[in-house]
């Protein structure tokens, strides 16, 4: 990938931070936006703004057309069909939508929801609420010492509770350990044992890094945010298998989703409009669609390869720093592998392919993550520190807080080198 050309597409990357050129490594929190996306949004407001549907005037027609076009582009990007997308603000809202509609309508005492110990709070708390309200049980797949969802444990759980499990909700790509879920294996496993279970995947970290193949995978719910895939903040989606969406009552009702309304009753439009109550974020949808076009232009295979190479390079560089202990997969993956140091030695192996993508979080011996991040910021390197919304995982692993560098299409190996130089400063300040 031509990263110089890509960097030039992102105006914010030419900013100076503390008199140093910005190295943005907080992409797991949100990615920056290319000028193509920014332009699509301002062009919408400057040229086409009008409320969608129901308007018999030119602007409303244009706006409606752009909105419908955006839906087609986004579902195409996700490998789904147009009537399988519900617009939401972000991944959190997408998961809450499932919790508040499908789960409330279908779960009862005796049913079981399976999540994992590494879930982002947005794929955990909605299930806590649902479990409390419906009486369903909530149980968790173990995480391996190197930060992956333990699929053997998942299989045992599915086999043991094949009639009870009604939902399996997992993160496709961990925002903390960077561990990738073997989606096809999970789908196969769930379908084999728990025939009545739905599968929900949190695709927040995945969508901007790997190809999404919703229909081919055959999952039921796929939640994602636009802002983590170079689109605007405030727009995202829930992709839902058609028959599931048809059978579920919408959580929001009102304008835009009705056919006929009487004072005491109403009939609803078919899907997907049935899920579009209220004036939608048309500019957001247009911006997100432009982000999909941008990523397709780069090619998702190329994007994944780029992210993988950067992740591999970062893991390699960070292992040179004795004070650093990385969390998550860092070596050839075998279940319950030897101690971390052993894995790092293995990573000298040419064929080293860590089962991780996009994020490298770590502990710095004797220095708190916030202090590490602060010193890096002074060097113009933006990373994130804290618990990354995975408190239970941090508690289980005994990490007070971790520092996380996460990559995007515009990052380069020299950005990773700047990170490493910044970490040398940490050593200077704290020794």
């Amino acid at each position: 990938m031509n990263t110089n050309k890509i960097k030039a597409d992102f105006p914010i990357l030419s900013r100076k931070i503390n008199d140093k050129s910005l190295v943005y490594l907080d992409n797991a929190a949100t990615t920056q936006k290319p000028k193509q996306v920014i332009r699509a949004i301002s062009d919408y407001y400057e040229q086409h703004n009008a409320n969608v549907h129901r308007g018999i005037h030119k602007l409303s027609e244009e706006s409606t057309g752009l909105f419908e076009e955006a839906r087609k582009t986004v579902v195409g990007f996700m490998g789904a069909k147009p009537n399988e997308l519900v617009w939401v603000r972000n991944t959190t809202e997408a998961i809450n939508l499932v919790a508040q509609s499908w789960a409330r309508q279908n779960l009862k005492t005796g049913d079981v929801i399976i999540a994992s110990e590494l879930e982002h709070h947005s794929n955990l708390i909605p299930w806590q609420v649902v479990a409390k309200e419906t009486g369903a049980g909530l149980t968790f797949v173990d995480v391996t010492p190197d930060g992956q969802v333990d699929l053997e444990h998942l299989e045992m759980m599915l086999e043991a509770m094949k009639n009870e499990v009604k939902l399996v909700a997992l993160s496709a790509l961990s925002n903390t350990t960077g561990a990738e879920l073997d989606v096809e294996r999970v789908v196969k496993m769930v379908r084999k044992y728990a025939k009545n279970a739905k599968i929900l995947l949190d695709g927040a970290q995945w969508v901007g890094r790997k190809k999404t193949e919703f229909d081919r995978w055959g999952v039921d719910f796929w939640a994602f945010s636009g802002h983590k895939m170079y689109g605007p903040m405030g727009i995202g989606g829930l992709v839902v298998k058609r028959e599931v969406l048809e059978e579920t009552e919408p959580w929001l009702t009102g304008g835009g989703m009705i056919e006929e309304v009487e004072l005491t009753s109403a009939t609803y439009t078919p899907i997907p409009e049935r899920w579009d109550a209220g004036t939608p974020d048309v500019a957001g949808a247009v911006g997100l669609a432009r982000a999909c076009v941008y990523l397709d232009g780069l090619g998702m295979e190329k994007v994944e390869e780029h992210e993988r190479e950067l992740t591999r390079y970062a893991v390699g560089r960070l292992k040179e720093i004795p004070e650093i202990e990385m969390v998550g997969p860092v070596g050839e993956i075998t279940k319950y592998q030897a101690p971390i140091t052993k894995q790092i030695q293995n990573s000298n192996n040419q064929n080293f392919k860590p089962n991780r993508l996009g994020s490298v979080a770590f502990l710095y011996m004797g220095v708190h993550a916030h202090d590490v991040a602060q010193i890096l910021d002074n060097e113009g390197v933006a990373v994130r520190s804290g618990h990354h919304c995975t408190m239970p995982l941090h508690t289980k692993m005994g990490w007070a807080a971790t520092t996380r560098a996460s990559f995007g299409v515009y990052n380069t190996k020299s950005d990773v080198d700047r990170l490493v130089e910044g970490l040398e400063k940490v050593n200077k300040v704290f020794r």
Binding site: N18, V367, H368, A369, H370, D371, Q374, I375, D377, N378, G386, H387, M391, H394, W399, A400, A401, V429, F430
Partner: protein
Amino acid sequence: MDDIYRDEVMEHYKNPRNFGSLEGADVVVEESNASCGDEVRVSLKLGNNQSPSIKHQVIKDIKFQGQGCAVSMAFTSLLIERVKEEGWGVEELKDKSEEDLVKLVGGDGVSPARQKCLRMGIKALRKAVAKISSNF
């Protein structure tokens, strides 16, 4: 950043003053920032004074224990050292606002993102003083 990691602060981080627990403490309070995993425990001991009036209560000693980032630990150490230097009694300390204590430790320049770290010790000390005051 120079405000946060100035030499004085780093010195306090590496060699915290008044660190430890206080035998026969009159009050022990805890404060934490769950989202950072930072926590601090402040113990406070009054002078040997039988007066029922808060006016006469002197602070004999303050100590702290805890773990956390450099900012939270160093500024707690600085805070306790300075409060002791001032020689304030309970009533005087009670009259100090959180902002007064931020000024006392020279924390005005600390960035918004680190305010929680800066203020953890301050909050703990104020909590301890409030708890003691409620006895009078």
